[in-house]
Structures are given as structure tokens and as C-alpha cells.
């Protein structure tokens, strides 16, 4: 009986993002549509990444590199698309005069990116956790890899939200802030590589990985809040 594991992991992974969705995004149909379209963009990026992997059968570190770069590329594409539609979107939004409309769009797009990322990467392990057996996490042999995966998934969804907010701040033309973009790419790479600790031989590797993720999340949240404060000035 691993049904308890299943519900525990499902809530850990998708509980916080779902709470965010229902408490902030769900009320606004425009934002829901935005979220779905950004999720679609993430999906295209991972389709290309998986095609490359399918042909090259590359090793994990290489795969992480090009899939992260592809995701960032599609983040930029999505920004380009959104900035074309921005005027109309702002016009149709609940509060057309607010200076935070763009940041709201970024937040929602990030949630879409994150959700799709969380679903694609974690739904398979989650479903197999219903079966009779469990797979133990290699670096933390007392915990199941389902549970570690759930925590990592939750963190990466939250990270995607902050990355999108920061990236949009960085992309804004004409005064591009490259340090935001660099931080987003580097922290994305760092967060992705740190998940490799989970299946490594290193003792408590999963703890290291999760701590790195939490640290990145903390820095990104603070940076986003600071950026938003600046927007208001």
C-alpha cells in the first residue's frame, strides 16, 4: 500500500502552486489564458530538447545544459510575443492604469511555465508511486525518490515564477537589465544541476540539492520584490 505516499507526494509537489493558482490567477480569465499559452511555450521548448536527446542520447549534464538554454530561449520568445500583445492585454485588464500589469503577466506566465514543467517531469514518477513498491533515493536511502522528487518539483515551479518575473524585468526594452537575465540563466542551470545530486552517490546529496534550490528561490524572491518596488518609483 503506497497510496499514502501518492497523496503525500501529490500534495507536496502540486499543493503550493495550485494554491497560488486558485487564490490569485483563477479569478481572472485573461490570466488563465495567458498561463495556458505560456505553458504551451514551455512544452515546445521541451519537445525540441527531447528530440535532441532522442537523436543524441546525450549524458545528463549535457542534456541539462541544452534543455535549460532552450527553455530560456523560449522564455524570450514568449516575452517577444507578449510585448506585441501587451497594449491590448493591458487595455482589457482589470486595472489598465496599474504599473504592475506587466509584472502580473510575468508572474502568471511563470506559473504556466512552472506548472507544465512540474507536470511533465513529475507526473510519471507520481503515477508509479501508486504501485506496490517504492524506489529509494540513492543519496538519501531513508527517503523515497518519489518524495524527494515532489519537493524538487514544488521548488522548481516556484522558481519558474520568480525567474519569469525577473526575466521580464531584464528583457524590457530600451533599458535592458542584463544582470537579471544572467541571474535567471545561471540560477536555472544551478537549480537543474543541483537535482543531479539526488541520484548521486554523495551522502545526503538530496539535502544539498534541495538546500541549493531553496537558496536560489530565496534570492530570486527577494530580487523580484526589489524589482517590483523599483517599478513603482
Amino acid at each position: 500500500m503506497t497510496l499514502l505516499t501518492f497523496f503525500g507526494c501529490a500534495l507536496t509537489a502540486y499543493g503550493p502552486p495550485l494554491a497560488i493558482f486558485f487564490l490569485t490567477v483563477a479569478k481572472d480569465a485573461q490570466l488563465v489564458i495567458l498561463m495556458v499559452s505560456s505553458a504551451f511555450f514551455w512544452l515546445i521548448s521541451i519537445l525540441i530538447a527531447s528530440s535532441i536527446w532522442f537523436v543524441s542520447k546525450s549524458k545528463d549534464p549535457i542534456t541539462v545544459l541544452y534543455s535549460v538554454l532552450l527553455q530560456e530561449l523560449f522564455r524570450w520568445f514568449f516575452f517577444k510575443l507578449l510585448s506585441r500583445a501587451e497594449k491590448g492585454l493591458i487595455l482589457a485588464s482589470a486595472n489598465p492604469t496599474s504599473p504592475f500589469n506587466r509584472s502580473t503577466f510575468a508572474f502568471v506566465s511563470g506559473l504556466g511555465f512552472g506548472f507544465m514543467n512540474g507536470l511533465v517531469t513529475y507526473i510519471n514518477p507520481l503515477v508509479s508511486s501508486v504501485g506496490s513498491g517504492v524506489i529509494m533515493c540513492k543519496s538519501c536511502p531513508t527517503l523515497t525518490s518519489f518524495f524527494i522528487g515532489a519537493i524538487t518539483t514544488c521548488l522548481s515551479i516556484l522558481l519558474h515564477i520568480t525567474w519569469m518575473v525577473l526575466a521580464f524585468e531584464g528583457f524590457i526594452y530600451p533599458k535592458r537589465k542584463y544582470y537579471y537575465i544572467i541571474w535567471v540563466v545561471l540560477s536555472h542551470l544551478g537549480a537543474s544541476y543541483s537535482t543531479l545530486f539526488n541520484q548521486s552517490e554523495i551522502k545526503f546529496g538530496c539535502v544539498i540539492g534541495i538546500l541549493i534550490n531553496i537558496a536560489m528561490l530565496g534570492v530570486s524572491i527577494i530580487a523580484s520584490v526589489m524589482a517590483l518596488k523599483k517599478v513603482n518609483k
Binding site: G8, T12, G15, L143
Partner: protein, 653 residues
Amino acid sequence: MPCVRILNSTSVAGCQSLKPASGILILTETQELLDNFIKSNQAGKYVVVLPYELMTNDNLRSLESSRKMSGVLALINGTDPSSPTSSPIITRPTNLSPDEKCPNCQFDLYRNDESRYLWNPNGLGIIQESYDFPIFALYPYDRASNRTYNRIISGVQFNERRAFERFPLKTVQLESLMFAAIDAPTCLRRNFCDPIGGHSVYSTPSIDMNENDGKPIIVVSAAMDSKSLFQDITLGVNNGISGSIALIAIADALSKSQPPVKNFPKHILFTLFAGESWGFLGSQRFVKNIFEPFNCIQNNTKPTTSCGINTGNFGGCSFPCFRDLDFKRINFNNIDSIFELSSVSNGQTGVQGLNYFVHVDDENNVGNQVLIQGLRALAVGGTSVKSASEDGVFRKLPPSSSMAFLEKNRNIPAVVISDFQANLTNYNSEYDDGNGLTDADFSRITTSICSIANVTSQAIWLHAQNLLNPANPAANVPITVNCTLVRELLGCLTINGTCSLFDAFSDNNDKRISHYTGVFDPTSPALLPLFHYNVLGSINANLTSNRGCQDDGDCQFGEICANLNCTNSFTRFHHSYGVGLEFNEKGEAVVVDPEKATWVESGWSGDFDFQIFNSTSTGSQIGELLTGILVTVLSIIGIIFGKKYIRKTLKLD
């Protein structure tokens, strides 16, 4: 290798698990450890690795009622995989049989007798019990089974190191879903069961034998297959293989006789029966067919859906379905005597020399006395053949095919020749495997089979010429059995699947030939009957042509294809399935006599599933669930407050 569900018209036997059963691996080597496990208050479900010796019905039932056991793995042999040179984990029992104390007694000649002699007093009696949990065998003999075995034993040792407390622990999941339910008639009607059976083989050098020739017939008989709880590992070296090898060796020796045996005053008919362990279905079916008048109700020369055999090629009948009708040439009333070879491979145990025993139904039958004394007088050198009742106890016949003949005519002289006097050893057991079949075992078994085959062939040779005279045994009978052939046959029928005798009809590469009876398929005989058909067919060939063939259909009418050559030989298959079953016009098996053997085997889906994996404790699973709930609740609270904070800091209001 699982235990399979078997049904007959009145009872259910074998194993069934309606859903996959999983449990933590635990090994209980001794009765004491098992009792402690049953009494202990260890939580959770376990798959118990149980030495075969401890698989008594009492133990299995108390495990079942302890509600801690989800399945059983029967440990039959094998060593500790972590140190391959070590002694086996369990000591091999010298005599263990899963069969009943009185095997097949409800189907035999003495079924209505008040007091019965129990031939198998050590029988565990689990083969006819029905268990609603999966039982799999651990019997490493090839690569796949060794790998499974090693994984299981390593899992057990892993759990022992963790004292069954520190999770994760190794868990195994067993799946053996059987479709069968209720009883044989129901299951056959629902089409979820197949009749147990196969093809018996009979053969005679008398190519012109017919029912009106008035010549007496000597029947030389043996069983070709065996039975055990786990069908795939059934070998039956003693019960099954030894008798059939002796029979072939006798046929071979007699075929070299000058003058040829077909010119003798008596016919010699060799019969190898399939499925004798299942209520004597081979012999009872054969006797029923040659005893009762036969009417072919319907005959299409083309194969029909109900019969499936091209009866036109062999002069058979579509309904009732018979490949050929040559069995009608055997006149039951002409049967003069029966020599049956029971288990004969352990002649060398106990007292010095080779000792064999002759069992009869009626000591006072003059014909029996002649045969016993004739055999005894012919046994010379280190071989001795005695009456089984020489110790003063008259036990009548052990489980044997002769009973089917005596059922119809109790006066036929019939001798059952065996290596046991009073008790069966390793009867219908996984341990009837020649003890591992080392070279020494091969030599011992070959000597044992060869010497009794020698005595019996001489007795038959004399008896077929009416010369068997115990008072004056012919000193020089020009008949000897070829011991090299015996040894070759022993290899072929046990562990040398690539033996050249298979070349003619099979590209068999199995290292081990299962001697489980199997389910009846009218159109294609299984490997074992094919083997005997080819071997006996060429031994008893009247004329071997140089025309090559793949199967009987390639040859002229009346010929058979033996060892890839069209051969003029009176060797035939005979359908064997429970006498309580018959096939109707549509080709469906139905129960016609619930008192007789009606064994059917359950169908199942695909392969038996078997998985081994880690499992966590319920405590840590609850921990995971609580974490999930906590994280979700906290994030809801966090978002509500976060929204307020953001509004305040960004001065949105």
C-alpha cells in the same frame, strides 16, 4: 514456477491468487522459527520462504489464518548465493512427497475396499488441497531460475540484516491469476479450463495383429510422465522415466531376437501411458476404448473444428474424435498377461545387490505365480527379484496401470515390477529428480534400470513362446538389454535436451524436459509422447523405407514417420484424458462420470508475474502524507498573507 489451479468434478486443488499478493520477504528455516513467526506480533504482510519439508497442510493453514502471510515461496533446493561453495540452506530430505498418503485411491481398483494399504505414508497431502494464495517454487537449475533464486535469497538476507525493522525492506509481489472457479463441469462450460491429459503411445512388433487372430497378447506397460506440485520442474526420474526407459530397453532387446518376436505364438504389445498420476487416465482411457465396442458416428475426411485431425490420412473418425482406429485391432479378450514396469531406478538401495519386488493383485492366481517365479528364477548375479509379499504382508497392487485392465477382467495375470516393497519414495515429488543427476547418479540409475529390464525382457521372451517354466529356467536366453541405450535414454529424458534422439522431431533446446502431464490437445502430441512414438516406432519397425518424411502425413497409408523415415510399424498414439470426461460433437469437453478422473487445469493470463522491490514502513508513508498536507496548508496561508504584504509594500491600495 508457480503452483497451478487444478479442478475435478468434485474438488479444487492447487493455488490461486485473485489479485497480486505482495509481502516482505522472510525465511523460516525450521519449524520453531515458523511457529515463532506465526505467534509473533510483527506487523505487515509477509511472503514466507518455506523449506519444502515444512510445507505441511497444517503449517500452510496456520500461516493463512495468521493473516500475516500473503504468499509462500517453497524452497526446494539451493545454496547460499553469497558464498557459492557453502552447504545448502536446507538439507535435502531423503523422502518427501507432496502427494496424498494413498495416491489416486478414489480412482483405483480398490476404491470400494474398506481397509486400504497406504503406499505413501510420508505424503504431505498438499497436492490435492486448495490454497487461495500464491505458492511459487524456488528451484534453481538454469540461468533464469538461478537469477530469481539469488535475488530472493539476497532479499531475505537484506531484510535479516535490517532485522525486519529498519525500512526499506525487500518486498516481493507474486501474481498467479487463475481463471478457474467452482468445479470442472463449470469451468469447462465457461471455457476457462482444459482437460489434463496427453497422448499415450502403444507399439508392437506384430505388424499384422488383428482382433480375430486369436493370438494371446502380452502387455508390457509403463507410465511415461509424472506429477508434482510445481508442474514445470516435474522430472519424475523414478516414477515415470525409469519404467519407460526399461520398457524401451526391453523392446529394443526383443527386437534383436532370432527368430523375430512377431512370429512367436503370442503378441507383445508395449504401452506407455500418459497421465497415470491423474487418476490413471491413460490406462483407463486405453482399456475403455479397446474393451468397449466402438461406433464411429460421423466421419469427415477433412479436419473439423471439433476434431481438428485429418482423419482421412490415418483411417480415423471425426466423432468421436480418433486419429486412427487401429486400437480396434487389439482384442481385450486376448490379453494373456501384463508386465508393468513401475519405478525401477533405485534397485541399489538398502541391502547389497539390486533388489526388485513383484506386486500382484491376487497371490493365488496361478498365472501370477508363474510370472513371479519365472522372474525370480531369471534374476541371477547381483540381481534379485522377490515377491513383494515375501515379508508376509500382502499389500495388493501399488498405484499402477494394470489396475485398469484388472478392472475389466480380474483374472488376467499381471505383475507390477518395482524397486520398492512397501513404501513409495519421493513419489510425485520435486525431489524425484535423480538427486541432481551427477555422473554417479547416472551410473547407479542406469545399472538399476538395465538389470531389471534384462530380467524382464528374458521373462517376456520366454513367456511369449510359452517357455516360461520356473522349475526349469532356460539357462541361456539369447536376449540382453543394451545398457548404453539405457544411459542415453536417461540423459535424453532428463537433462540432456540436445540429445540426438530428439533431432528427428524437435529442435528442443530446453536443458530439462518437464514430465508434467500437461493439457490435452487432440491435434499435437507433446514432446514426451513424440519421443516415445519415434523411438518405439523405429524399434518395432517391420520395414524402414528410404523415403524421408517430416510427419506421418508424408507417408503412405498405414506407415508412420519414425526418425524422419517412413516406416511400416504398428506404433500409434492414443488420446488420453480423464475417463470421466468426453468430447461432444462440438469438440467441447464435458463431464460424463463424476466418479472417474475428470481433472482439468485452469487457464491463466500470460506469464506469472514476479517482482521484487523495496517497501517503506507505514509510518514513513504517513509522514509523507502529513508533509504534503502541511506544505499545502502553509502555502495557502502564506499566499493570503503574501498578497497583503505585496499590496502594502507596493502601495497598490
